[in-house]
C-alpha cells in the first residue's frame, strides 16, 4: 500500500495498463501537454509519448466513435470525456454504437472501450459542468458502469475496466481527485460487479455511490457517537450490480437509506429501491426505503445554492436518525 491521491491512482492505472499492454492508449481533450483539465494525466505524455496520450480536438462524438472503431480492430482505447456532462454530445456512439455492437453483430466482435469521465458538483462550475449522469449509462444494456469512491478503487476498477472486453463507463468524481488514501501496489484489479462494505453496523444500511460514500462514512462516525451503528455499502459497479450484497446488507439491518448525489427522479437509487421492494427484502424491512438524493434541479452556480441541492454529511446524519428513531 502506498498513499496517493485519487487522481494519481487513475494516472497510475493508466501507466500500468499501457506498460502491460501495448494496445492500450488514451485520447481526449487536453490529456497530453496540458496534463488533463483536472491534472489527472499529468506528465503521462512524456512517459508514454504523444502516440499513446493523444490530444484531440473538441469533438466528443468523434472521440468516442474513434474509440469504438479502434476497439473493434484490436486496440484497447481509453477515451476521456473532459466533463461527464459532455457525454451528451457523444451519446450516440456510447449508447447506440459501443453498447450494442457486440449484440447486434451476433457476437462477432466486441468493443473493449473504456470511457472515463469526471462527474459531480461542488466546484462552482454550474449546471452544464456538474451533473451526475450515471443513470443514463446504467439504463443502457451493453454498457458496464463503475463509480470509484476511493483512490484504491479508482486504480483497481480502471484496470479491471481496461481488461474487460466490453465498453465500460468509468465515472470519476471531481471532488475526489485531490483526496488521498492507501492504494495497493502493482497492478491489482478491483473486480467489476462486486460491492464494497467499508463499514458494518446493526441499525441501518446506507447504500451510497461516488462522493457520497465518504460522506456516508463520515456520517456513520457521527451516528456512532450517539449509538446508531450503520452499515455502509458502496456498490462500486453500478452495472453489473452486486444485488446480492445490497439485499443481504439491507435485510441484515432492516432499514435502508439510499444516498446519491444525482437528482432524485430515476437516479441510480431508484433502481436499488425498486430491486429491494420487489425482492426478498420486501418482507424483511422494518421501515420504508428512504432515498436521500440531489434535488430535482440543475446544479446552481452560487456556492450556498450548490451545497443546498446535494446531500451533505449532516443531511445523511439527519436522515439516518429519523429512519432509526421513527421505525
Amino acid at each position: 500500500m502506498s498513499e496517493m491521491t485519487y487522481a494519481e491512482a487513475v494516472r497510475s492505472a493508466l501507466a500500468i495498463a499501457m506498460e502491460q499492454d501495448e494496445r492500450v492508449f488514451l485520447m481526449g481533450e487536453d490529456v497530453g501537454t496540458y496534463g488533463g483539465a483536472f491534472g489527472v494525466t499529468g506528465d503521462l505524455i512524456h512517459r508514454m509519448g504523444a502516440q499513446r496520450i493523444r490530444d484531440t480536438t473538441i469533438s466528443e462524438l468523434g472521440i468516442v466513435g474513434m474509440g469504438v472503431g479502434a476497439a473493434m480492430t484490436g486496440m484497447r482505447p481509453v477515451v476521456e470525456i473532459q466533463f461527464s456532462d459532455f457525454s451528451a454530445q457523444a451519446m450516440d456512439q456510447i449508447a447506440n454504437q459501443a453498447a450494442k455492437i457486440h449484440f447486434m453483430l451476433g457476437g462477432a466482435v466486441s468493443v473493449p472501450l473504456v470511457i472515463r469521465a469526471p462527474g459531480g458538483s461542488g466546484t462552482g462550475a454550474a449546471a452544464q459542468h456538474s451533473q451526475s449522469l450515471e443513470a443514463w449509462f446504467t439504463h443502457v444494456p451493453g454498457l458496464k458502469v463503475v463509480m470509484p469512491a476511493t483512490a484504491d478503487d479508482a486504480k483497481g476498477l480502471l484496470l479491471a475496466a481496461i481488461d474487460d472486453p466490453n465498453p465500460v463507463v468509468v465515472l470519476e468524481h471531481k471532488l475526489l481527485y485531490r483526496t488521498s488514501g492507501p492504494v495497493r501496489e502493482g497492478a491489482e484489479r478491483t473486480p467489476l460487479g462486486v460491492a464494497a462494505v467499508p463499514r458494518r453496523g446493526t441499525d441501518l444500511t446506507i447504500v451510497a455511490t461516488g462522493v457520497q460514500v465518504s460522506r456516508s462514512l463520515e456520517a456513520a462516525e457521527q451516528l456512532a457517537q450517539e449509538g446508531i451503528e450503520a452499515t455502509v455499502v458502496d456498490p462500486r459497479t453500478l452495472k453489473p450490480l452486486d444485488e446480492e450484497t445490497i439485499a443481504a446488507e439491507a435485510i441484515a439491518t432492516g432499514r435502508v437509506l439510499l444516498v446519491q448525489e444525482a437528482v432524485r427522479t430515476l437516479g441510480f437509487m431508484s433502481e436499488v429501491a425498486a430491486l429491494l421492494s420487489e425482492g426478498e427484502a420486501f418482507v424483511h424491512l422494518k421501515a420504508p426505503i428512504r432515498r436521500l438524493t440531489g434535488l430535482d434541479v440543475p446544479i446552481p452556480y452560487a456556492p450556498q445554492l450548490e451545497r443546498a441541492v446535494v446531500p451533505q454529511v449532516e443531511d445523511i446524519v439527519a436522515a439516518a436518525q429519523t429512519l432509526v428513531r421513527e421505525w
Partner: protein, 328 residues
C-alpha cells in the same frame, strides 16, 4: 491513368460483373421476399448504385476495413461476404451473420473487414476513422473506407470524424455515395454546393467527385485515395454521384422526385454501361455476359433456398448475448 482498363481485362471484367450482378440479384430477391411477406423489418435497396461498392472494394485488400450504412448490401457483398449468410440474416436465421439479431441494418462480416452496416446515419464515420487510427497505431498499412450517403454530410458525427482524421492524417477514405437524396432531401438543396466534394476544402484534405455509375471512374478515384491513405498521406473525400432507383424504404411514395427523373437514371444503369464497355472492348462476348448473369442468378437462388432452410434465430440465450464474456 495508363493502367489497363478493367473492361479490357477479361478476369477483372468478369469479376466486376459478377459482383454487380450479385448485388442487384441479391436485392431483387430481398425485394421479392419482402413483398411476399417472407421478410420483415425495413429494407433499403441500393439498386442502381452497384458500381460504387464494386469498384471501391476492388482497390482494397481483404484485411482493409470498411464501414457501411443502412443501404449496405452492396458494400457487404463487394467486400467479400457470402450472400447466403447475408440472406440468412435477413431471414432472421441462426446462421445469419448476426444470428438474426442485427438484420439488414447491422449486417457485418468482420472476416472480410466489414465492420458493419449502421442504422445511424453517419454512425460509421467515426468508427471508420477509429479503425484507421488503430491500423496506423498497430503499424500495419491497412486502410479504412467509410461508405456513407450524401445525407450523412449533415451530421455532426461526419464532421468530427473528418476533423480528427485530417489532423492525424489517418489512412481513411470518406466515400460519399451521392445518390441525390437523403431520404427525401435533395443533396443539391441541402448542402449549397454545386460539387459536393468541395466540402473537403474546409478540412484541408483532397476531395474529388466522380461519375458513380462509371465503374472505371470510381475505381480510379478510389485507387488514388486508397493509395494516398496507404502511403501515409492522410484521408480524402471521394464523392461518387449515382442514383437510387427504388424508394428510400418501403414507406416511400416518391413524392419528392419525378417519374421522369427516375427513368433518366435507369437509363444510366451502371451494369449495362459496363457491359457495353466490355463488349465494345471485345473483352467478353454477349454469350459470356449471358453466362455470368446465369451463374449469379443460380448462385443467388441456391443462397436463398439454403438460407430459408436454415434454423430460425433462437431467443433462448438473448440475455447472455449482450456482453462479451470476460476471460477467466
Amino acid at each position: 491513368m495508363n493502367a489497363p482498363k478493367i473492361a479490357e481485362d477479361a478476369g477483372r471484367a468478369r469479376e466486376s460483373l459478377r459482383t454487380m450482378w450479385r448485388i442487384r440479384r441479391f436485392e431483387e430477391a430481398v425485394e421479392e421476399l419482402y413483398g411476399r411477406g417472407l421478410m420483415h423489418g425495413t429494407m433499403h435497396l441500393s439498386i442502381g448504385q452497384e458500381a460504387v461498392p464494386t469498384a471501391v472494394c476492388q482497390t482494397l485488400r481483404r484485411d482493409d476495413y470498411i464501414t457501411s450504412t443502412h443501404r449496405g448490401h452492396g458494400h457487404c457483398i463487394a467486400k467479400g461476404a457470402d450472400p447466403e449468410s447475408m440472406m440468412a440474416e435477413l431471414l432472421a436465421k441462426e446462421t445469419g451473420y448476426c444470428r438474426g439479431r442485427g438484420g439488414s441494418m447491422h449486417i457485418a462480416d468482420t472476416a472480410t473487414g466489414n465492420l458493419g452496416a449502421n442504422g445511424i446515419v453517419a454512425g460509421g464515420v467515426p468508427i471508420a476513422a477509429g479503425a484507421a487510427l488503430s491500423a496506423s497505431m498497430r503499424g500495419t498499412d491497412q486502410v479504412a473506407v467509410c461508405f456513407h450517403g450524401d445525407g450523412a454530410l449533415g451530421e455532426g458525427a461526419w464532421h468530427e470524424a473528418v476533423v480528427l482524421a485530417a489532423m492525424w492524417r489517418l489512412p481513411v477514405v470518406f466515400l460519399c455515395e451521392d445518390n441525390h437524396y437523403g431520404m427525401s432531401m435533395s443533396s443539391r438543396r441541402a448542402f449549397g454546393l454545386a460539387d459536393l466534394s468541395d466540402r473537403a476544402r474546409g478540412y484541408g484534405i483532397p476531395g474529388v467527385s466522380v461519375d458513380g455509375n462509371d465503374l472505371q471512374a470510381v475505381h480510379d478515384a478510389a485507387a488514388e485515395a486508397v493509395g494516398r491513405a496507404r502511403a501515409g498521406e492522410g484521408p480524402s473525400l471521394v464523392v461518387a454521384t449515382t442514383y437510387r432507383w427504388r424508394g428510400h424504404s418501403k414507406s416511400d411514395k416518391n413524392l419528392y422526385r419525378t417519374r421522369e427523373e427516375i427513368e433518366e437514371w435507369r437509363a444510366q444503369d451502371p451494369i449495362v454501361r459496363f457491359e457495353r464497355a466490355v463488349l465494345e472492348a471485345g473483352t467478353l462476348t454477349a454469350t459470356d455476359l449471358e453466362q455470368i448473369g446465369q451463374e449469379v442468378r443460380s448462385e443467388l437462388r441456391t443462397a436463398v433456398q439454403r438460407a430459408h432452410a436454415a434454423p430460425d434465430a433462437r431467443p433462448d440465450d438473448l440475455l447472455e448475448s449482450v456482453y462479451a464474456e470476460v476471460d477467466a
